[in-house]
């Protein structure tokens, strides 16, 4: 493995709910090398999504440091976090989160537009679309696509700008087992063929097994790390 792409030290996040401070992260340390497919598991409320939101620049941490590719993102302004989301991170959500009024192709195109890349994706991206199995579904709106197809479109959208990190928050949570396996295999292929760094939240141990490594979170801390899967070997 190469230098860590993500370095997290003593990360804390406290949410203010009414007049009560609710700690979501209580000192997380984590290193993720470039090219790793990392699974994060843990019960609801363990801080997995909060960790994702901070790495993805959706919210700032309360304390601690997060370095991505050497850049400390913990003190970024709102505009700085917007740039981070635009340039370095791609999201895949449990509920797919495609824009319902745009076709699959336009959902991908708008991600390029927001990133300031007006031109069509590189020719190699055609291969990615084939790998995802959605080349012939790009003219359809999300309502006309199956859950599995929607999730694969969301994946194409997430990686169209070549982000350093793909953050997948329960990507198979709304899919049946067949589509879940298809989506996970695509993610593994993306990781293997393109070297895409992937962090995936999941409740499903079988899904977690698709990653190189699993970390377990509980009560805002990482309680078990470096559970290396055979597929890495």
């Amino acid at each position: 493995m190469s230098e860590p792409l993500i370095e997290i030290r003593e990360l804390h996040k406290i949410y203010r709910v009414g007049k009560v401070d609710v700690p979501a992260l209580r000192g997380v340390d984590l290193e993720v090398p470039a090219g790793e497919f990392l699974a994060i598991v843990g019960p609801s409320g363990s801080g997995k999504s909060t960790l994702f939101h901070i790495i993805g620049g959706l919210t700032p941490p309360s304390a601690g440091s997060v370095r991505i590719g050497g850049q400390d993102i913990s003190s970024l302004t709102d505009a700085g976090r917007t740039s981070l989301r635009k340039d370095k991170v791609g999201f895949v959500f449990q509920k797919f989160n495609l824009l319902p009024n745009l076709t699959a192709g336009d959902n991908i195109a708008i991600a390029r537009h927001i990133a300031g890349r007006e031109q069509k994706p590189e020719p190699e991206f055609e291969e990615v679309l084939k790998l995802l199995g959605i080349s012939n579904r790009l003219d359809h709106k999300p309502a006309a696509l199956s859950g599995g197809e929607q999730q694969r479109v969301a994946m194409a959208r997430a990686i169209v700008n070549h982000p350093a990190i793909l953050l997948a928050d329960e990507p198979t949570g709304n899919l049946d087992s067949e589509n879940s396996t298809a989506v996970l295999e695509v993610m593994r292929d993306l990781n293997r063929r393109l070297g895409q760094t992937i962090l995936m939240i999941t409740h499903n141990p079988e899904a977690a097994a698709f990653g190189h490594r699993t970390v377990r979170m509980r009560d805002g801390r990482i309680v078990l790390s470096d559970q290396v899967h055979e597929n890495l070997l």
Binding site: G56, A79, T82, K86, N97, D106, I110, A111
Partner: protein, 367 residues
């Protein structure tokens, strides 16, 4: 790409979009109708004044451009003016209101024919008795009258329509001047005088002499008088103020409609805004989408508003051809469209800024 997203968003909720466009169109139509009616009625009055064929008009002291009160001028003044040098003809008329926008004019048909060249009769002919009335084609159409019919109730009397004439000469309803004078208690009095000079070159001389002779009277050349028929001069500028108030109301309506419409749209699309933010969309990008959507609604509203003003004009012409004349005012189209755009963009600003400030995590969690 933004244009595509905006259009798809508008297409996604067609009823909301169409209703917004219609509601934005209403003040545009109101403004264009109001301005069109103001211009149309003033131009019509000016045209009918010019149709008399006089060179100079003499009006009593204290009258405004469009209104006359009673008949304060002694009729014998006509013979005095007739004696002035270079005056070829002096004709007196009496004017009396029958509705807020329609007047009946008392005429001596012989002298009126001399100065104006006479009415062009479409039906019937001149007065034959004291209770006869001549009406123009628009008054006839509005009231479904023909030569030989009776007009009941005008000045508490029944009138016989002796003729229907082509519009464009002074009045829509004319009756014999003696009858009108006696009916209104103005025997021997007239409302205004029209003068024809013996040659166009002598008009300034006649005008100067009349002003010297009647210093308190309002005396104008017809060209000068009809040029005063503008929205800025009517009622000391009150019409202009009224139009300004209507424009302000138009802006407020456009503002309120779009504020509500876009506020609803932002609420409905909270999750989509969260998605765009997760993709790296800046606050300005989100605001641009909302403003662009409002601008499309505003432009659509302006176009529909202009189209509806034509429909309103056709309706007015069909129902009230004599009372109301609406001009087509293309010079006001960009003004009305601009007013609507200002209203909708102001209305979209608050929902747009709210959307731009949304927290992406909360927006993504919105159900």
């Amino acid at each position: 790409m933004i244009a595509k997203l905006v259009l798809e968003n508008l297409k996604h909720k067609p009823m909301r979009s169409l209703l917004s466009v219609f509601l934005i169109a209403v003040p545009v139509t109101l403004i264009l109708c109001l301005v069109g009616l103001s211009h149309g009625m003033l131009e019509d009055s000016a045209r009918r004044m010019r149709g008399i064929g006089a060179d100079i008009i003499v009006r009593p002291p204290g009258t405004s451009v469009l209104t006359l009160s009673g008949a304060p001028i002694p009729e014998k003044m006509l013979s005095v003016l007739q004696q002035q040098s270079h005056v070829a003809l002096a004709v007196g008329m009496m004017v009396h209101p029958i509705t807020s926008v329609t007047y009946v004019t008392g005429l001596d048909l012989h002298s009126f024919n001399q100065i104006s060249g006479g009415f062009k009769y479409l039906e019937g002919g001149p007065f034959r008795g004291p209770d006869d009335a001549i009406i123009d084609q628009y008054y006839a159409r509005q009231n479904r009258l023909h030569a030989g019919d009776r007009i009941n109730g005008m000045l508490n009397r029944s009138w016989h329509v002796s003729g229907v004439v082509e519009s464009g000469k002074l009045t829509r309803v004319a009756v014999p001047i003696r009858t009108l004078q006696d009916l209104t208690g103005n025997t021997g009095k007239i409302s205004q005088l029209f003068i024809k000079a013996d040659a166009p070159a002598n008009i300034p001389t006649v005008l100067a002499e009349l002003k010297q002779l009647l210093p308190d009277y309002n005396i104008y050349t017809m060209e000068e008088f009809t040029s005063l028929f503008t929205v800025d001069t009517v009622q000391g500028g009150a019409l202009r103020n009224f139009i300004d108030v209507m424009i302000a109301i138009g802006v407020v309506i456009g503002f309120a409609v779009v504020l509500l419409s876009m506020y609803m749209a932002v609420l409905q699309r909270t999750r989509e805004i969260g998605i765009l933010k997760a993709l790296g969309a800046s606050r300005w990008f989100i605001l641009k989408i909302i403003l662009a959507e409002a601008a499309v609604l505003g432009i659509g509203g302006a176009i529909v508003g202009i189209a509806l003003s034509f429909a309103a004009r056709a309706l007015i012409q069909a129902l009230y051809p004599a009372s109301l004349t609406q001009a087509v005012t293309p010079e006001w189209w960009p003004i009305a469209a601009g007013i609507s755009l200002v209203g909708v963009l102001l209305g979209a600003l608050y929902p747009g800024l709210s959307a731009a400030r949304l927290d992406p995590i909360e927006a993504l969690a919105y159900e």
